[in-house]
């Protein structure tokens, strides 16, 4: 289960979040935990370099892309390696939408489209589509495989 996907800016403000199966009262803790994690570790990290953490049996993989840091939280089959796959799909999609690792400005300009991409990538706690082209087609209301 992918428990959460979070996007935050460099100051630790959350831009997008998607929780699945996380009780409302725990979300605040997750937010602060993740942002603190990023603040402690993401300085000077290269774009898309993956960092890892775990808490109990929950795994966290996070990275930085342009001005935006991305966190993915999962458990069970979504361990640190599966989350690496997920975050890879997400970063490729974001780069695809923004054309490059986004500044915060660009990210916010493309906010709606990024939300749609995320909708195609993580669907009710499971990874769905992984291919960049396919995701692009689906966010444009086209079928996954064109005919």
């Amino acid at each position: 289960m992918i428990l959460a996907v979070l996007f935050a800016n460099s100051e630790g403000n959350i831009l997008i979040e998607r929780f699945h199966g996380v009780p409302a009262e725990e979300r605040l803790h997750w937010r602060s935990f993740l942002v603190k994690l990023g603040a402690d570790n993401l300085k000077g990290v290269k774009n898309e370099e993956l960092l890892v953490a775990c808490h109990k049996s929950v795994y966290i993989v996070y990275t930085v892309l342009g001005d935006v840091s991305i966190y993915v939280v999962g458990k069970d089959e979504y361990d640190e390696l599966a989350l690496s796959e997920v975050i890879f799909v997400i970063t490729s999609a974001v780069k695809d939408v923004c054309g490059k690792p986004p500044t915060e400005r660009v990210f916010l300009d493309k906010y709606g489209r990024i939300c749609l991409c995320l909708d195609e990538i993580v669907w009710k706690g499971y990874l769905e589509n992984t291919e960049k082209d396919r995701i692009r087609r689906l966010t444009r209301m086209k079928p996954p495989t064109e005919f």
């Binding site: 100051e11 630790g12 403000n13 959350i14 997008i16 979040e17 998607r18 699945h20 996380v22 725990e26 979300r27 605040l28 803790h29 997750w30 937010r31 602060s32 935990f33 942002v35 570790n41 993956l50 890892v52 953490a53 775990c54 808490h55 109990k56 049996s57 929950v58 993989v61 458990k75 069970d76 089959e77 361990d79 640190e80 390696l81 599966a82 989350l83 690496s84 796959e85 400005r105 916010l108 300009d109 906010y111 709606g112 939300c115 749609l116 909708d119 669907w123 009710k124 499971y126 769905e128 589509n129 992984t130 291919e131 444009r140 209301m141 086209k142 079928p143 996954p144 495989t145 005919f147």
Partner: protein, 1243 residues
């Protein structure tokens, strides 16, 4: 920070980016002023007063919504986003209104662009969607042709469906929105609720999902997807979804679909097959989101079909469903898969599918089926799946390979049994991977030739892991370490079960050769894993399991250098698990010691490792001492970060688990911390030495101090258990020690008799001199506990020591150990005089009473006088009184404990029927006459028949005389030879409960059994947080959000260490049961190491987390009929709540008060209850107090009005709010509630 959050997200809903920050920062436009603070809740570290602004912003949204709804009812045909507004943030109402209006003009290009580029992206920022937007969205859905608009429409419809609606909370995040439904209810205009719109949305989406028109194809897929977002509690939507999904699969699932190699996921192919494939994908994706239906053959059938679909995502979903179903019904799944697993089948195609998660599911599926017991009669099927699983070990993806390794190791979820894990280790070290012929045939390349050679799994796995450990990717390193960690678990399980042939010195190739011999039945019986093991004629020069492991562990160790602390933690866990009882642990010790010197370690991770130690102990109790040594490093290196509860639990379980031989060493390992030189503040020398404590800052120095206190307390509590020395089992008659008052002789006798106890005694004596004030107190308490529990000569030795300690003067003798801590130790030399006197007094009383008894016995003997009823009664009363007194200091088993010495048992038995439940249990009673006497006594009491006092007295005198004579070596036999008495005994004994079985022999087994069942026999009280943590950890459970602030030791939630013990061990009824069952002399539950009243008493004092909770369980059981405790006067606890507080002024007064009540033990029986003197105050050991700084007006039901200067108790903190209690109700009558943190000054 909060403000900038507002800025950035507000940027988004500001049409003109360049001026966004200024616009929102200044909040110039009053109409939009509220929107800016609305973004704050997503920001972190939000200020205390924010709740207010959030409320205000929600009100604003509400107003906006209402006005938007009004506007929608009375449409004003104007462009709602005029140019001049571009520079201001767009309010929610504007967005809502523009959707309503643009929906009406959706046929115009301009409206569409407006929607796609401005309205919809901005609306995405809000965390839920107002249901009143649904009609417009549905209108757009029907009328608009634009793809981008439609995609957003489906997105928002799905979000309306998924919103649970109760709190307006959804998975969306972003700017908080009000509870739309509640809003609609109070909205006079006639608002729209979810209940109104959901059926309409479902209706429309259902119709679209059933629309088979080719032109509608893409929309059909999206509407099906949107429908799956409905919460699974909505059974109506669920049944519709099932209907749609199965309807689609009915049409497209059965079609000829045999995919060809290379087609998977690629473009091309004819239009019809692509449409079919898309539909297959959409249907299976939806099916994946539906609840599993294990009994439904159609469900299974469609999922199995999915494995051979052309769309790779569909294949993954199919496999995931099938693998989940297999866990529930492996037989049905295996049958349904049928030919798919055979060469050329769909499952083997998945091996080459470019979808990692699909192959992960394949590994799980294969594992489940190949281990299913229901398929025992189909070894062929099981071996086919097993073979696929082994092939996945060669998978290029680490994720898949590791999953396969974990499956081989028997790790599936966290519920595996030890046997499965042990068998997993056996498989890994013994089994061979043989690639099936079909793969070999595919090419005649050298590579495949090479791969074709059978390979031992262990070699493959080791090679793979070693290369993973060379990776630069942190997730890979973490995962690899985790795999090694799981390997360690399986290995430990194999050792624990004593699996045959776990000999790791055997060359692995031996098995490969052996396997070839058994080619015909190779892997036909995956469970018969021992078949190849008999051959072990390996020669040197070949890899052994041990050598492979050694080289792997070498690589693992180097990974400790990883920058990421989480990876390091996982590595250390792996090392702990791979550590076997026989290996030297020097290397591990130094790794951990140097690691812990790194301040980067978060406390949560360190405690996680402590829990790992605990788990490791459970798997191999014989590692107790090693683990304690490791735990000791934590205690000395990072005292400020480790959770003292977890540490204590570890100490305790390890001590118990160390067994009779290891107990001494285990106690040493815990208490060696007491021997270390005190930390030198600021000194960075010897950071990596384990024999040096590091507490470089005041906080950790304080924590270390607390830990030392805990260790001293632990020593006092458990020394008797570790030394198996109990007064009530002492072989030495009480008089012996009195006769050798020469101190030197006494010490010599003591240490020769029981070195463990003598060692503990020495340590405590030194602590009583040289520690800090708090440590000296606890050391004195611990010594008293030992004195009370130990037999002679220890008791006398302590007695003398305490005397000397109280009066001073002895210090010169110990001056070589005395390390001044710079404190003025006062006239007594230790500052403990006041504290010591009651302890000495209780020992005084015991000795005096013993003397008196002996005197009496002599008198009676000399005068040939019979013991009168009154005399016996007096004896019994003294016994009881002393017992009560003793129980104040520490726990003793009342049924067994004899403050007057063994001779007194007689008196107490005769008079004390209720004394210990089962009077038969006094094992040293001479059964010849005394048993009869007791029985008679009991019988006569219970039947109301007059006691034949004469007989009893005769017997009594005989026994007393006997004792006396034995002691003086006078061999005059006066045994009773009355046959009536003798037969009477046997009759009575057999009629009544069975006599206790030889208590001495039970010891070890019981201890071990007890230790083995620690987790689940309820002994540990399930409400103990430390235990919970351990259990959660062991169960691998917990998606709980992490605690970010767990660095604050002092404010950690209270811990009921003593509850844990008191509840389960101290209740007298349970003890009596135990006695009746005669759980043996040293059974840990009766005596092992039980929380005492002293320690719980001290809990209020200086262990905020250790013992602080409620000692009342014990106190209550002891003081039920006692007078109510003195509730007046200053509470001793209140003044001692905070350990940091200045102690100088308060320390004598509480002491005095406490001891005053001791002065008169009979009159002051209330003093007994000091353990429970004031429940509230004791239990508030962690309570913090504060003063209101400002007036605060409650804004909500759960908030509390405050007047500046008011004093409050702070119960806990949550999100910048304190939950506080007032001393007296305020004007509104409220006592407790939430107030902002900043309003309270913590004292």
């Amino acid at each position: 920070m909060a403000d900038s959050a507002g800025t950035t997200l507000m940027d988004l809903i500001t049409a003109d980016p360049t001026t966004a920050s200024t616009a929102s920062a200044s909040n110039s436009a009053p109409s939009s002023a509220a929107a800016a603070p609305a973004t704050q809740p997503t920001a972190l570290g939000k200020p205390a007063g924010e709740k207010k602004s959030k409320r205000a912003s929600l009100m604003q949204i509400q107003n906006d919504t209402i006005s938007a709804a009004k506007a929608a009812l009375n449409p004003v045909r104007t462009n709602i986003m005029p140019q001049k507004q571009k520079k201001k943030p767009v309010s929610y109402s504007q967005l809502a209104r523009s959707i309503h209006e643009l929906a009406a003009t959706s046929d115009q290009k301009r409206s569409q662009r407006q929607l796609v580029h401005h309205v919809f992206p901005k609306l995405a920022v809000y965390n839920s969607v107002d249901p009143s937007l649904a009609p417009s969205l549905l209108m757009l859905n029907q009328q608009c042709e634009d793809r981008s608009v439609l995609r957003y429409v489906y997105y928002y419809l799905a979000r309306i469906l998924s919103d649970t609606g109760t709190q307006g909370l959804s998975t969306g995040g972003g700017i908080p929105t009000p509870n739309w439904d509640a809003l609609a209810d109070i909205d006079a205009v006639g608002g729209v609720t979810r209940a109104d719109v959901v059926p309409r949305i479902v209706e429309q989406l259902t119709a679209e999902a059933k629309n088979a028109d080719v032109e509608f194809h893409a929309r059909r897929l999206q509407s099906l997807k949107a429908l799956t977002y409905a919460p699974s509690t909505n059974s109506e939507v669920l049944s519709r979804l099932y209907e749609i999904v199965f309807g689609i699969l009915e049409k497209v699932g059965d079609a000829p679909h045999k995919r060809k190699k290379g087609i998977i996921g690629s473009k091309g192919g004819d239009r019809e097959s692509i449409i079919r494939s898309n539909l297959q994908y959409a249907a299976l994706s939806a099916l994946r989101r539906l609840p599993l239906d294990p009994g439904n053959p159609a469900f299974l059938h469609r999922a199995v079909q999915g494995i051979s679909f052309a769309d790779p995502v569909a294949v993954r979903h199919g496999l995931e469903i099938v693998s989940e179903l297999a866990a529930k019904d492996p037989y049905a799944v295996a049958m349904a898969l049928g030919k798919h697993v055979q060469p050329g089948g769909a499952l083997l195609d998945v091996l080459h599918l470019h979808d990692v998660l699909a192959r992960v599911s394949l590994a799980r599926l294969c594992h489940t089926i190949s281990r299913a017991r229901v398929l025992d009669d189909r070894p062929d099927i099981r071996s086919q799946f097993n073979s696929v699983l082994y092939q996945l070990l060669l998978d290029p993806s680490e994720r898949v390979c590791f999953e396969a390794i974990l499956c081989v190791l028997g790790k599936y979820d966290n519920t595996e049994r030890t046997e499965e894990r042990a068998a997993g280790w056996y498989r890994l070290t013994r089994e061979i991977l043989k690639l099936p012929e079909v793969l070999g045939k595919e090419g005649s390349k050298d590579k495949s030739q090479k791969n074709k050679r059978p390979q031992p799994l262990i070699k493959l796995v080791m090679r793979r892991l070693e290369s993973s450990f060379r990776s630069f990717s942190r997730p890979v390193l973490h995962a690899a370490a985790r795999v090694v960690h799981e390997m360690g678990k399986s290995r430990a399980a194999a050792f624990a079960l004593g699996l045959q042939d776990v000999d790791e010195g055997v060359p692995v190739n031996t098995f490969a050769e052996a396997a070839e011999l058994h080619d015909s039945d190779e892997s036909a019986h995956p469970e018969s894993i021992r078949r190849t093991s008999s051959i072990s004629n390996g020669t040197g020069g070949r890899d052994t399991i041990a050598s492979l492991l050694a080289s792997l562990m070498e690589v693992v160790r180097t990974t400790v250098a990883c920058e990421c602390v989480y990876v390091r933690a996982m590595v250390i866990k792996a090392l702990i698990w791979m550590q076997s009882p026989i290996d030297s642990f020097d290397e591990l010790e130094s790794i951990i010691a140097s690691e812990l010197s790194d301040p980067a370690w978060p406390a949560a991770l360190l405690n996680d490792i402590l829990l790992t130690l605990h788990a490791r102990f459970k798997a191999s109790p014989d590692m107790a001492v090693t683990l304690l040594e490791i735990a000791r490093i934590f205690a000395t290196k990072v005292p400020g970060k480790v959770d003292a509860d977890v540490l204590q639990l570890l100490w305790k379980t390890c001590l118990v688990g160390a067994g009779p031989d290891g107990k001494h060493k285990a106690l040493e390992a815990v208490t060696i911390v007491l021997d270390l030189p005190p930390p030198q503040p600021g000194s960075m020398l010897g950071l990596t030495s384990v024999d040096r404590v590091s507490a470089s800052d005041p906080k950790s120095a304080l924590a270390l101090q607390r830990l030392v206190q805990a260790a001293v307390w632990f020593l006092g509590e458990n020394a008797n258990y570790a030394a198996s020395e109990y007064a009530w089992e002492s072989a030495t008659p009480p008089g012996t020690a009195l006769m050798m008052l020469d101190a030197d002789k006494m010490v010599a006798a003591a240490s020769s008799r029981n070195p463990t106890l003598a060692g503990a005694l020495t340590r405590l004596q030194r602590c009583a001199f040289s520690g800090s004030w708090e440590i000296r107190i606890i050391a004195a308490q611990a010594l008293t506990t030992m004195a009370i529990r130990s037999g002679e000569p220890f008791r006398l030795q302590i007695y003398e020591f305490l005397h000397a300690l109280a009066q001073g003067g002895l210090q010169s003798q110990f001056s070589d150990m005395h390390l001044s801590n710079g404190e003025d130790q006062g006239a007594s030399g230790t500052g403990l005089g006041v504290l010591l006197s009651p302890m000495i007094r209780v020992l005084d009383e015991m000795y005096r009473a013993q003397d008196d008894l002996i005197k009496e016995i002599r008198n009676h003997d000399n005068a040939k006088k019979e013991w009168s009823d009154d005399e016996l009664k007096k004896l019994y009363e003294t016994h009881e009184r002393l017992l009560d007194l003793v129980s104040l200091f520490c726990y003793v088993p009342r049924a067994k404990y004899l403050p007057l010495g063994p001779i007194s048992c007689l008196a107490s038995c005769v008079w004390g029927v209720p004394l210990g439940g089962n009077p038969f249990n006094v094992s040293f009673l001479d059964p010849k006459g005394l048993g009869h006497g007791m029985v008679q006594r009991i019988l006569s009491l219970s039947e109301g028949i007059a006691l034949r006092v004469k007989t009893i007295r005769d017997i009594l005198c005989a026994k007393l005389v006997d004792v006396y004579r034995t002691r003086h070596n006078i061999s005059v036999s006066t045994g009773l030879s009355d046959p009536a008495v003798a037969t009477g005994i046997s009759d009575l004994v057999y009629e009544s409960k069975p006599a206790p079985a030889e208590p001495d022999t039970l010891d070890d087994d019981l201890v071990n059994a007890w230790a083995a069942n620690l987790g689940d026999d309820g002994l540990w009280g399930n409400n103990a947080p430390a235990m919970n943590r351990v259990n959660e950890f062991l169960a691998g459970a917990g998606t709980d959000a992490p605690e970010v602030d767990d660095e604050h030791i002092i404010s950690r939630p209270s811990v009921s260490y003593d509850d844990m013990w008191a509840k389960t061990l101290l209740e007298s009824s349970e003890l009596e049961e135990d006695d009746a069952r005669s759980l043996g002399s040293s059974s840990p539950d009766s005596t092992g190491s039980v929380e005492t009243s002293i320690s719980s008493h001290f809990g209020g004092m200086s262990y905020p987390s250790l013992f602080s909770s409620k000692p009342t369980t014990y106190g209550a059981s002891q003081t039920m009929e006692k007078e109510p405790a003195n509730r007046g006067g200053p509470s001793i606890y209140e003044s001692l709540v905070s350990p940091i507080r200045e102690e100088t002024s308060s320390y004598s007064s509480p002491g005095m008060q406490r001891f005053e009540s001791f002065e008169n033990p009979l009159a002051g029986r209330g003093s007994q209850s000091f353990g429970s003197q004031d429940d509230e105050q004791v239990s508030s050991g962690n309570m913090r107090f504060g003063t209101a700084l400002y007036d605060f007006t409650a804004g909500g039901e759960d908030e509390l009005n405050l007047t500046a200067g008011e004093e409050v108790e702070i119960e806990y903190e949550v999100d910048g709010w304190f939950y506080v209690k007032k001393k007296r109700p305020g004007r509104d009558g409220k006592m407790a509630g939430l107030v902002p943190v900043l309003y309270v000054d913590q004292s």
